[in-house]
Amino acid sequence: MNQKQKDIPARKHFTFTLNRSRLVFVIVMSFAVLAVVWPGHAIFSDPLPLIFGFPLSFAWVILWVLISFAAMTGLYVSDHKHKAEDV
């Protein structure tokens, strides 16, 4: 959380290379934070309907594990396509 609070005012003096895939990743993960903490989880907080047998509130969290896994995989692939020497 501090990450986000701090990097906005300090962007100029900031030593972080935000290429496009990293930017997409940061956006997806920011949504993930909103989704599993608040307000996302508060919207999808009901037990019903059951999705594949799981209550909606549970299925929602599992869905975001899968999304963040996909996002991290995408970031990994793109990072290492750009920087083959960075092993």
Binding site: M1, N2, Q3, Q5, K6, D7, A10, H13, F14, T15, F16, T17, M29, A32, V33, V36, V37, W38, H41, A42, F44, S45, D46, P47, L48, L50, F52, G53, F54, P55, S57, F58, W60, V61, I62, W64, V65, L66, S68, F69, M72, T73, L75, Y76, D79, H80, K83, E85, D86, V87
Partner: protein
């Protein structure tokens, strides 16, 4: 008696294999500190994956996870939620720590910070703090193992002996093989846990209700739908929890997750930044194993109401159902695996950090590499023994009090972040932020009634921490740019 023997044989076999898996790597590591603490920076993706995964699969997850689901319902999702967020910073921190470690020979987190902020006292104090939180953590893992063996053997194995035997095995392989012993045994233990979690998590709902959907329907029909309504129930198990409490617990845990000193320092052990990143990327697959663990807890809600304490729900279910001895034996092995795979990492890190960050900076003369390794091994024994004494002698409420201090770990995050990404951060800023944050966190931990908002005390600590870090840094003179650049430019090879 016959089933008792079968259980003991399975547990004995499990311990033996763990021991062998843990000792074998000692034949391959080099004799210095680099080999013992950082595994010669040569750990592959497979082992690293389990080392990272074991951090969440402690006794807390294996016994506490079902306990939370059983007593507080949806509140237990917080374990999954914080893991999902908390692992991400490690993707960026890890490779930087690895490169600096390789270049300058660092093997702990405090070494990095002490070097960036040119402060020996920072290293000494962080070292002391780490050991102070690691000992109760280790004690808790030991209590878990002693407890499980005692309950499942129906008193055949006394509590002190259960914890003693289990941790003797851990002590031996950590003593001889260092981090590689931790790694190899964690891979074996991790696979046991994964398989068992899924077997039990699917078997129990099917056996008791006829399926997962039927189980949740039964919970809803029994008038407990409040339990499945996020964010679940509050600590007392009857009123709904609020989003302030749930959200802040997730955030503080997530912020602290990547900077746990024993977790963070694993990045040095990786073979390459790329292989470390891959282990981090695969980490969410480990999180999915929390799903069956929680299903175990939910399966008891309707079938076995009113079990106290909630953490004992898993052994309780197993004793109620007339299960074959093999299953119970395997469950024992799984619970021990959960305890051991976290306990060994903690034990190893506590000793390494104590010597590397606290004792070494205080010595006048530099010590030889082999002497240092020997000192770490001695401390493995000493810390193991102290924690064991805590586990068998001391009242458990002391342990739970110390556990409350974990919000303090999150206070390391802003400093670590600034170390890599904010060149303007200074020594005074870092010290002020860190200690201001810890002080505020501890204050509200001890006096919760003074909190202005009903959120986790770590949030207040973090707010003060960040404000102090930024303002004091800007007010003080910039640190030596050459030294700072080493850290901020560590992003590429």
């Amino acid at each position: 008696m016959e089933s008792g023997t079968a259980i003991l044989i399975i547990v004995g076999l499990y311990l033996l294999v763990s021991l062998v898996m843990g000792i074998l790597p000692s034949l391959r590591i080099t004799s210095g500190v680099d080999g013992y603490v950082a595994g010669d920076r040569n750990m592959n993706v497979f082992i690293m994956y389990f080392v990272l995964g074991a951090s969440i699969f402690s006794s807390f997850a294996f016994l506490g996870g079902p306990g939370w689901a059983y007593s507080r319902g949806a509140a237990a999702f917080y374990i999954i939620a914080y893991g999902l967020i908390g692992i991400v910073p490690l993707y960026f921190f890890g490779p930087r720590a690895w490169r600096l470690g390789k270049k300058f020979g660092f093997v702990t987190q405090a070494e990095l910070l002490a070097n960036r902020f040119s402060s020996r006292s920072l290293s000494v104090i962080l070292g002391l703090l780490s050991v102070a939180v690691f000992i109760p953590y280790l004690t808790l893992q030991m209590i878990g193992s002693g407890y499980v063996l005692n309950v499942i053997s129906e008193g055949l194995i006394p509590y002190w002996a259960g914890a003693g035997i289990t941790y003797l095995v851990v002590l031996i392989y950590v003593y001889f093989s260092g981090v590689m012993g931790v790694g190899w045994s964690n891979a074996f233990q991790g696979m046991i846990m994964m398989v068992l979690a899924w077997i039990l998590g699917i078997y129990l709902p099917t056996e008791l209700y006829g399926g997962i959907e039927e189980m949740f329907t039964a919970i809803l029909d029994s008038g407990k739908e409040a339990m499945l309504q996020a964010p679940g129930l509050a600590g007392n198990g009857s009123e709904p929890w609020n989003w302030w409490g749930y959200g802040s617990a997730v955030l503080v845990s997530a912020v602290g997750f990547s900077v746990w000193p024993h977790f963070f320092m694993r990045s040095y052990a990786a073979r390459s930044p790329k292989s470390f990143r891959l282990s981090v990327v695969l980490y969410p697959t480990f999180l999915l194993f929390m799903v069956p663990i929680l299903l175990i807890g939910f399966s008891a809600v309707v079938a076995f109401p009113g079990v106290e304490p909630a953490d004992s729900i898993l052994p309780y279910i197993l004793m109620q159902l007339d299960l074959p001895a093999v299953i119970i034996g395997l469950f024992c092995a799984g619970a021990l695996a959960a305890s051991m795979s976290s306990g060994d990492a903690i034990l190893h890190s506590a000793a390494s950090i104590a010597v590397r960050d606290t004792i070494r900076p205080l010595l006048k003369n530099p010590i030889q590499d082999n002497t240092e390794r020997f000192m770490i091994q001695m401390l493995v024994l000493v810390i193991g023994l102290i924690s064991y004494l805590f586990a068998v002698v001391i009242d458990i409420s002391i342990v739970s009090l110390l556990l409350g201090a974990y919000g303090g770990v999150a206070q390391i995050f802003p400093v670590v972040f600034a170390m890599f990404y904010w060149p303007r951060a200074t020594k005074s800023g870092a010290l002020a932020g860190l200690f201001g944050g810890i002080a505020v966190n501890t204050f509200f931990l001890l006096l919760p009634e003074l909190k202005p908002l009903p959120v986790h005390e770590g949030i207040f600590g973090l707010a003060v921490n960040v404000i102090l870090l930024i303002s004091i840094s800007l007010l003080s003179r910039p640190d030596d740019p050459e030294r700072v650049e080493k850290f901020t430019e560590s992003g590429s090879a």
